[in-house]
Amino acid sequence: MRHRKPLARPAAAGLTAAALALAAACSSDGGSGDAETYTWWDPYPQHTDDSAWAERVDACGEEAGVTIDRTASDTTDLTNQALLAAQEGTSPDIILLDNPAVSTLADTGMLTTVDELGLDVTGVDENLLAAGVVDDAAYGIPVGANTLAIYYNAEILEAAGVDPASITDWDTLTAALAQVTGNGDKGMTFAAIGTEEGSFQFLPWFWGAGADLRDLDSPEAVAALELWTGWLESGYAPNSVITNSQNTTWEEFLTGEFGFALNGTWQVNSAAEADFATGVIQIPAREGGIAPAPTGGEFLIAPVQADAERYDITRQIVECMTTPEGFVETATTFAYYVPPTAEGQEALLEAEPELEPWVTAVREAKGRTSDNLGTDYPKISEALWTAVQHALSGSATPAEALQQAQADAEAALG
């Protein structure tokens, strides 16, 4: 008996093809070529579409006469997304990128310089702008800077009889830790995790000892690492620092069990809301003075576009975001970004005078990719945090670990 077979076999294949075609037709990808829409990428997914930050971004777009299509990503993902987009020629108009990554992107040729954009950066503090400078060309403007300092638990310090003002160098700091632990509390917590965050937290001590990133095995560097391993051995810092992110460090501090925590500007509000009284002291350098801490914070950068006409509007949007008032607003939205210009800093201090220690810290801070380290920095940083991990976990002495790190860095840099 003969049966007519329905043409259902190709149907399944056809279904798939139809689905793809439908998807292509309905794709909602906002084109970065549309004259009325400018694409904006930033690493603040916690600020959703209805947040004050998103509204500000939209407002700057409106002022320039366009709509801004904003996407927020996880910060570690943002660099890769930017690279993939550049490869395909679909770069957004503006990216807010973590400052150490700026030179990496600049090196690929996918970014415009501030001159190409027509942006005036004379008011920006040198030490803050330097992170985005490659071969004497500046590739963006900081949207604000944050940095590290030492928070302390006022109640614990009082109970142990420690005066925060007496902590002026490494010896006095270690002595304070001894006093606090002797009194039954825990000393200090920080982040030594095997990622950029670990390097970030180690650098104030590294630079505070007078070490240079090009010489990871200098005696000064070894001294800095020995400070940390010494604390761990004496029980002044917990073993878990090896896997601590900065967020975890802060959560540990909030339990009220620790006397000190190394953390940044962004926790100022949280510190104010803690169950105990808190204060801030600068990170001491080895022999006294303020140790230079690394700058955090994003840069506003503009990727190269096929249509150079777009740069005019892009520049207007950037300028709108970087007026002194704009800087203060950004500062408070991100609790707290210190404005990168002297004008902005004064405006901020007028509005929030208790941020004075942070403004001081930022003025003393240093960009990680400055000193023309640029794209060398990530390699050096990786070697550095690996050395810290090895030393703190006991698998190598600080000297050995740093020697290995220097060898690795030199090999990686070719």
Binding site: H3, A19, A23, Q46, T75, Q81, D98
Partner: protein
Amino acid sequence: MITRSHWKTVLGTLFTALMLFPVYWMVNVSLTPTGDLRRSDPNWFPTDPTFEGYDAALSQQLPALGTSLGIGLGCVALTVVIAAPAGYALAVLNLRGGRTLNFLLLVAQMIPAVVMAMGFYAIYVRLGLLNTVWGLIVADSTIAVPFGVLLYTTFMAGIPKDLVHAARIDGAGPWRTFTRVVLPVSRNSTLTVALFAFLWAWSDFIFASTLNRSGEFVPITLGIYQYIGNNTTQWNAIMATAVVASLPAAILLVVAQRYVAAGVTAGAVKD
């Protein structure tokens, strides 16, 4: 007999409780206020519960949950549509070079997800599938399809040849044999493949983050990252979202298992 069964139930419950302890811990964390999260003496019960995590999750993540559900179901449909006929071709129709195809499928599963995602990015940009839900459905199905074909092939190969021949004698062509005889008998496999496809699509992060970053509808795995800021993380919101996301799916699982357990007795697959 009855005591024996009860004893097994108790043991079973114990094993399950042990296995699910980390899940319990997750719930515990979701209710713990930030100041108590890292206490050196952790609480077994949230003695001072906070509901801010659940507030955040319920008010912000429901659309993402809906998207994840849609992607999961779409992925199931696509996977079954591609894998079932292929399994039929390999196992019953004795496709030429079936061995090679099987091996290729195995190789396909060996490719790390990151490699796949980066390759897809280029394809999707050209096809305009970037940042679409359909794009994710197709991408997520690549996790499940090779496995689905493998499962269907193994299962269908065990279908008694007499069953197939009987259909043929009745004059059914390959397609009708497939839909009227083979598919119903393979219901167990279909449910298993559906289960795997759904679960893999539900928990996928790599494809979502590479291919649907800026879309209007993002799945829950991306939605969670809203709580991971530059230097701060809201753990109770993250854990609360995970709990809220798992509850309906867990209920679905329990119901589905019962259905599978009911089994297909008539014409069941025999060795």
